[in-house]
Amino acid sequence: MTKKNKIIRAILFIILVIFAIYTIMPIFWVFVTSLKTAEEARSFPPTLIPKEVTFQNYQLLLQDEQMMRSFLNSIIVAVPATLLCVIISALAAFAFSRYKFRGKKQLLAGVMGIFMIPITMNTIPLYLIFQRMGLLDTYAGVILAYQVLIIPLNIFILKNHFDTIPVSLEEAAALDGATTMQRFTKVIMPLSWPGLSISFIFTFRFAWNEFVLPMILISSPSKTVFQVAMYRFLGLYSIDWGLLSAAIVIGMIPILIIIIFFQRQLLQGIQAGSIKG
């Protein structure tokens, strides 16, 4: 490596480090605050490392039935919503990738166009539709509503990935008498893990984080999801920064778990070029 190259690499590395500090700072700050006592969180000037590490904020939260219940509710809703959404999108992507039919190009463009509808605005009609279907204040209703969050992007990601799988593999399977569904489940799906992982992570991200839909569609406190409970919690304890920070950290846990356990799949997905539409 030449000396000039080394200097360029060092500069690039420094840019990455600066961006990393920007990325990590707010998360680090919330995490540090969650370990402080209420007094230290409101001390001036602020301390970067807690003088006295305490878990009292987490203890208080774990005793808060509403928050814990809402965390469980979020899992009850987000996991099936994610699975359902990826399956539905994968079927559609399979059709777009493997079949020729009239109006395909226009339909694909239309799917992308649907992404432009602000979901917040659709909440009122959804409320009215679900009211007529008796789906208000039910988990099933929320799971169904969550389907709208990311289907278009999923279809694009998965179609793109399916396109990279040689058709010859399926033709071989078809000669052996495989049905369409078997080709889909036995050939396409197992070969698509990088694309599917990206799709799972993205979908879960939307389902876990959604705020307006569950706020409007769910009315009983026992069925509230975490994001809504947390928003109300923020209003309730607006000065107890330590406690609020602990709530935020708990809200990050599922996302951190995903990052830690799926980082390999995520990196593979990026490298396979699965994310571009």
Partner: protein, 289 residues
């Protein structure tokens, strides 16, 4: 292989049904709501028909017009910096300097969090007295800044938080696209005596253009529609300086209960999204030709 003609439609049916009933149909329902006087209080009664009154009302409402200006600044700023920084970081990441695997995973994190969490975290960063940023500024002997309590500063602070929130997606997207470009093209260009800038404009940009288009559209739409970040970070204040049209829609519809006004603003947002996407697509098509 394609014996059954109805097969693709069967496969598409669940996705299309959901998109039609839960996305497209509600838009038309919203159009109806915007032409009636619907409030949270009379939602289950008969809706009085008012024609275009709500539409006239919003375009005479100076707060709404102000929120459109805020939206313009917020969206332009978000899109420009998210795409620009996203490209810069993605470009560096594919160079495989030290620790790229670690950086790659770390950089995705903000985008995976919820707007509520991001809003709170940044509110706590920006806090006038106990926030980390002012704490560090004062430790360095500088004046503290009223990041979110100064009406002239709040929108910029919001923008910084949203760049933090949204850039990871652009990094992911662009990195994934850059990796599909055949590296040998660059080597060939180098042999022909092209400098890095020429390679960028003659190889990278044209090959990246279609993906860049989708990235631009997604980033713009997310910025136009985003409201929960503002809601938690600043509540739209001070003096409505951070109330974007999307947040105004939420406040009118859900906090004030003026569902008709909310629906009308929602349709304005949809029109903005469609126009912006159309312009991007046209610009990109122009570039290809």
């Amino acid at each position: 292989m394609q014996k059954k003609k109805w097969m693709p439609f069967l496969l598409l049916l669940p996705a299309l049904a959901i998109m039609f009933f839960l996305m497209i149909f509600p838009v038309f329902w919203n159009l109806t709501i915007s032409m009636h006087d619907v409030k949270t209080t009379n939602i289950n009664d008969v809706w009085p028909f008012v024609g275009f009154q709500n539409w006239v009302k919003i375009f005479q409402d100076e707060y709404f017009l102000q929120s459109l200006k805020v939206t313009l600044f917020f969206v332009l700023g978000s899109v420009f910096f998210q795409i620009f920084i996203g490209f810069l970081i993605a470009r560096i990441l594919i160079e495989r300097v030290w620790g790229t695997k670690f950086f790659r995973v770390l950089f995705i994190l903000p985008w995976l969090l919820s707007a509520t969490i991001v809003g709170f975290s940044w509110q706590w960063m920006y806090n006038d007295y106990f926030g980390l940023i002012n704490g560090m500024l004062m430790r360095l002997g500088m004046q503290p800044v009223n990041w979110i309590s100064d009406p002239n500063m709040a929108l910029i602070s919001l923008l910084i938080a949203n760049i933090w929130f949204g850039t990871p997606f652009s990094i992911l997207f662009q990195e994934s696209s850059l990796l599909t470009i055949d590296r040998s093209l660059y080597e060939a260009a180098k042999i022909d005596g092209a400098n890095p800038l020429q390679s960028f404009f003659n190889i990278t940009l044209p090959l990246l253009a279609p993906f860049l288009g989708i990235n631009l559209i997604l980033t713009s739409m997310w910025s136009v529609n985003l409201f929960d970040l503002q809601l938690v970070l600043t509540g739209g204040g001070p003096l409505m300086s951070t109330t974007t049209a999307s947040l105004y829609m939420y406040k009118q519809g859900f906090e004030q209960g003026n569902l008709s006004i909310g629906a009308a603003i929602g349709i304005v947002l949809l029109i903005i999204n469609l126009t912006v996407s159309f312009l991007y697509l046209r610009a990109l098509r122009g570039e290809e030709a």
